[in-house]
Symmetry: D3
Subunit: 319 residues, 6 copies
């Protein structure tokens, strides 16, 4: 079965794919005819597709986020690849395929990621800090198993958020060893809490964000996480003027570093400075990794990456 | 008794003033001598002063924020007025002066301002909104009687914050009548809550801010107010996902309009757009009024005003 | 008859509409066929439409800004509504419809708006100021009855400019009462003059701006209004160095507040500061109102609004 | 007689100088003593000075912009040169010195500069353009003989404005020859008019700007020049909608290129694009020339120049 | 034969053109048909075109940058002109046309431009400077005969780069005469070297840039030219710490003036300030000239020009 | 002996210090008297000092960067500590103190740092990359033993540059293990080369930068390093178009990430993205560490740190 990342112009192929997006549209013909404007995806990437011969039955058969078997031809349209679908049908039990095989996922199993995060959380020595972190993690625990870290920017796939946390925790441990003036409890807590409200800021399914939630738009994950810490402290009987409440709220509020990037205050503790840069380093390198992973091996350049000043990345050694 | 605003070069004068700032410094002489670097103030303004003949006793007698009787001469130093103090003593009971006569205050009595604010609060129809507002007002009620609205920008005087709120509430009522699509409950609540955490963000005495608090620096009054709404909802048994919690938190979080001005989200309700502009209009006109009030009548220009693009204001009609 | 704002996918409808835009285009067919690319509008909003079966006669019958009777079907095209026109004809006298019923208008009659503006103008006490205002109003008096205030930003409809002025005058009166240091003559004059050159800056018909004029592009309404004040003073025998000439030119030149928003000088009189903020408050709230008015009631969000940091507005209470 | 530019630390010298600035100040001594805080200047530059032994008579003898004979010693104070004045007296007729010998001037005689400008003006072919230019030049003709082009930025000396114009006219002629699509009449007129209102924007004496005028602050030279063109057209009977009025106003309004640099519109004619860049090239190179002229020959670097991104200029060949 | 610049809607025409771009695409028909998406160009401009009836043979006959004879009809598509090609064939020897007749070129012959540049280079008095310039010119000498100065911004045609240099050298000579403090050797060298690496930064054919080179993207022409100067010095036995190496590298590194425009250092020699402004003046006026040249004479406005704040240029006198 | 960091107002103390800065100034007295304006430093920090009774001999005895024994009193001047020196003498051999005890140094011995850097350099597998790195390191090897990494921003002390490199190399190793798509050779080389030209960009002694060099100002360390790579390649016989030359020059040119921060190109290889963020993380955390190290333990806040958005850092746990 052909991976989407490997398709080239003129290829004829058959395979199972996820119907990531599907719109019914109409041609300009008279009378106009219905056709499907489709995005097919698998774990290697995604591609646009058109299905021109749509019957009335088809319109009641196919819906987004469904698995399908497709036969198609690859064409070049406005310098981008596009599939002309010649046959399409729903997957049946006999096909023996599972949806999780067709989505991009973190390279480590969600259960292992969440386990690592919890282990790190449980190693926090300060009881109040640990309680607050545990309460907040508890609010989104189920979603941590599959939520992406962002809509498109970075870690935009199944369990991407937990993967981002786990990687940052490794880096945080290293930095704490290099720089003993940093307090590991705050570093761990800051890493776990900084994006903890993202699962409520975005609406996602199978690692794919469809939109921002109402809360996400009007409050944003930064202020939401701050509010959750207030809620956690009240729930755990921790005084609201305890230093750890202040320290943790400062970490989440300042982690975007600048007002124009969404932080109402700028980092003013050693741990807050560290958190911002650990987050930046991990997110930016992940953008590079994500782009490399979905670029065909023969291509010397990835597509342009918005979060990297709109630059494409060149692969040294491919020249 | 001469008002500070009326002092001119070469004036010799005697009067009662507030010792707003006092530092002991040393001249370059050999051996160096101690002198006082002073800021005198009254309700009309403030002025720098030097007291050259400081005795050891003086250093144990005079402290900032104390009322004093001063005899002095006005001199011009680097194009600014400065008083050379020739005599100074503490005020005694017989002087029959009260500190509140020497500080700049809102032009309306604090008790009346707070009364107006509470009346407006009580006219909020939605019970949940009213409860949240009341809880937050309750947290700072005593300080509302005297806190300024800012350190220097605008309304930087006794009860300036309450005055700012009261004026905005009048303007809010007018705008709600002009534009019926605005919900008066949210407008009132937004006006009362938008700066409600300022008394905890700043440390002030007699309407004069000495510094920002630790909370003020690390959290800021915008996120603090959002946290208080969470706290108020929990305390009042209002579900945290009630729309009014969302709507009120959005109002306080967005009222600075842009990220670079400290708002983590931008206004996305009609009331939030209105709140930002009512706040801006009142604050900017107050900066003008404050500058005009402390500029001698014969001066055609006020000093430069930082919040108005660093421009001075020209008084039409004085040319 | 169906209002455009109420159309939903799959609706079949018949009605009278304004042919706001009309282009003849060609399909990709061989040989290509002509079709009409249309924008239909009525007082509730506007919608794209296609008419596929265009005859040679049709091309000589239909032109922009004409009233037509249309039968059509509503389709969804790239997530936006679009009408497929099945029949179209010109309106006849028997249809008994008037073009003014099909355009968005200020909610108050133009004649009443202009009357209110003139009343305010006549209440200006200073004779020179009043003469200058009257001269400038005289230059565009006829256009004031129907010109919009902007191309798309705000008040972009029939008599929108006069409506903007009238509303600002109400707000100006309120502010002058709140803040007695403001000179009402300048506030009134500034409000009437600040956008007075807009009818010469833009070319508009029935409240719809088709383009900027040559003057509008090369001089802009801000400098044009300043020039007009010079012209008015010469015409009225007022010395060019009279303070009111200076004060009024300063008001119009500074009302956009910052250089990057088009003002060559920044506000430096109390009245100029007030004018900018009265203008901003009215314009921004009108953007909200305009967006709410053209959003179907069942939609919780308006479209994105460029003048409001590109944010959409959420309607509290619709969740 | 020693030129100021040649003074070095420890020099003792006697000479005639202009008392460019003079303030009476007081020492910290008890009782404080009066002293003069002075800026001395000649045509080669300027230097700070102190005169410590000020008598009551001195205070009634010496005033700014007066010629004096000074004996002094050069000292180093905070890494800058400063003169300690040991003797000072007013110049008498017998000294046989003239104030114009002590001020920085354009390197060409004002009468020749103004003659060149007028010659260029008279070579304008289009009668209407020539009339407008002539009217505007007429308004400031006397001041053109001595006004500087700016307060400190560039050409900040006697007849600096006329010098700037004359140099730009030479460059304009060259560019018009290189690029025949440019209309020489507009280039000449634009060069003469672009800063024509500066003599009314600033208050200057002997080429030294003391402050901005009220008009200068509230209107600015850009809009003033636009207003003057309106006035000129009315005075000369040229219709206000004549293309040359539009073209000339566009030139002056757009010559700062960007809104944040003070232009309410951006260049939109070929001549306006040319004018902006001819102005920039001449002004920036003059900043370099002015800095080189007042830097001692042995210094490899000039002081920092604000208009050149705050950079100092290195003299190649001095290393 | 019709020039592209003169084509109007509905014109039927026959002529020789350059096939500047050609893509094979497919219609939406079922089955889809191939068609050519084409850009035709000649020395007067360029235009989009479609060729609907593509045979298999056609797809092997036509390629970009080939000369063709075309018959076609001009249509209006989305407010832009577009040609419907009815016949197309390759040019044969008998047609007696040469590709250089079909491309935009500098108005002066390349050989004359390069001659003028070399003459200027040879007039450099300082031997080291001359050697370095000669070495760098030698690296791209062949490409100087035809390379454009930019992809689209300015001088984007055959020999545009040499034309830009030659024009700047004329202007540089004039400025050096006006301002004797400038060192002509550095001005000449700076002008010749500032864009000398552009032929290696971009990939171009017949004056048309197809893309940036790998070096161009990763190093950029500014740092490339600096590296070349190092290389030239080593090659010519000039010490790397010679002042001319420093002075020349500073000129190329600083010529974009600001960091955000690509210069890692800002101009800090008189010659570097001059170079930046000579470059800016020539480039901006060329943008105007290029736009005027490709705008039909009857059009009063050119298209919008990106390098001129996205403004269109109005032709005075066409109103 | 009292460390400078521990001095408090009114302390009388005796100790050995480095005379980091020394200026001879004059009092305002008549006649004025000479005094020394001094900065004393030791490894714990620095402090201003005045020495009022300067003899002629003193002026020939004391010079900057000399070790002295000082007796003094600590005073408060404008809210900052300042020492009044009562006795001062040069250090003699008997004092048995060494200058290196009085300067801030990296916490690891320079010889160990340089050893670690070389070890890392020698572990580079690609011979060409290793040769280029070795050549560049060779140019500044001696200075690597003591140069700071910056004037004030971060690592501004003895061997600070080598310390910065060594720390980054540790972090680079960790990141390469986390992210196998990164090429360790380029990461190591990029870390060693990114600031390799700083010892030629700045003039420093004992870890204290006195000024930028001429090269530093006109070329900057970024372009200098790029030029050095060209030089290294020529010297080592590596073709200038070898990919490693391109890759290494890209790393140094892009490591400041944005044009406004001095990089003429933006990161476009995975290693360049990593290098920028490893550099940022290490530099910013070092700023925090440096500030914490020189802040008295009892102070809850460090001074404001320019490189951290001008924020002070709060020490959690000190409240």
């Amino acid at each position: 079965m052909t991976e989407i990342k490997q398709l080239s112009p003129q290829d004829e192929f058959t395979g199972f794919y996820l119907l990531k997006e599907l719109d019914v549209r109409q041609t300009n013909a008279t009378p106009p005819k219905d056709y499907f404007d489709i995005v097919l995806s698998d774990s290697s990437g995604q591609i646009s597709a058109k299905y021109w011969d749509v019957s009335t039955a088809d319109k009641e058969t196919f819906f987004p986020m469904m698995l399908v078997k497709v036969r198609g031809i690859v064409q070049l349209y406005r310098e981008r690849l596009q599939v002309k679908v010649t046959r399409i049908r729903k997957v049946t039990d006999e096909d023996n395929v599972s949806i999780t095989d067709f989505i991009r996922s973190a390279p480590i199993r969600p259960v292992d990621l969440v386990h690592a995060i919890k282990q790190s959380m449980n190693s926090i020595q300060d009881e109040q800090i640990r309680q607050i972190v545990a309460y907040c993690v508890g609010k989104v625990e189920e979603k941590l198993m599959h939520y992406p870290a962002a809509k498109t920017h970075h870690h935009a796939y199944f369990a991407g958020l937990a993967y981002h946390m786990a990687r940052m925790l490794e880096l945080g441990d290293f930095i704490c060893k290099q720089r003993p003036f940093l307090k590991p409890d705050y570093i761990k807590a800051g890493i776990i809490l900084h994006d903890i409200a993202k699962p409520e800021e975005m609406v996602a399914q199978l690692g794919i964000v469809s939109e921002y939630s109402l809360q996400g738009k009007l409050i944003g994950h930064i202020a939401m996480a701050s509010n959750w810490i207030t809620e956690a402290a009240i729930h755990s009987g921790i005084p609201l003027d305890a230093e750890c409440v202040l320290g943790l709220q400062h970490l989440v509020l300042s982690h975007h570093n600048l007002g124009e990037w969404g932080s109402p205050v700028q980092p003013q503790t050693a741990e807050a400075v560290a958190l911002h840069h650990i987050d930046a380093l991990d997110a930016k390198l992940q953008m590079v990794e994500d782009a490399l992973d979905t670029t065909p091996e023969t291509e010397p350049w990835t597509p342009m990456i918005r979060g990297l000043e709109n630059k494409a990345i060149y692969k040294l050694g491919t020249n």
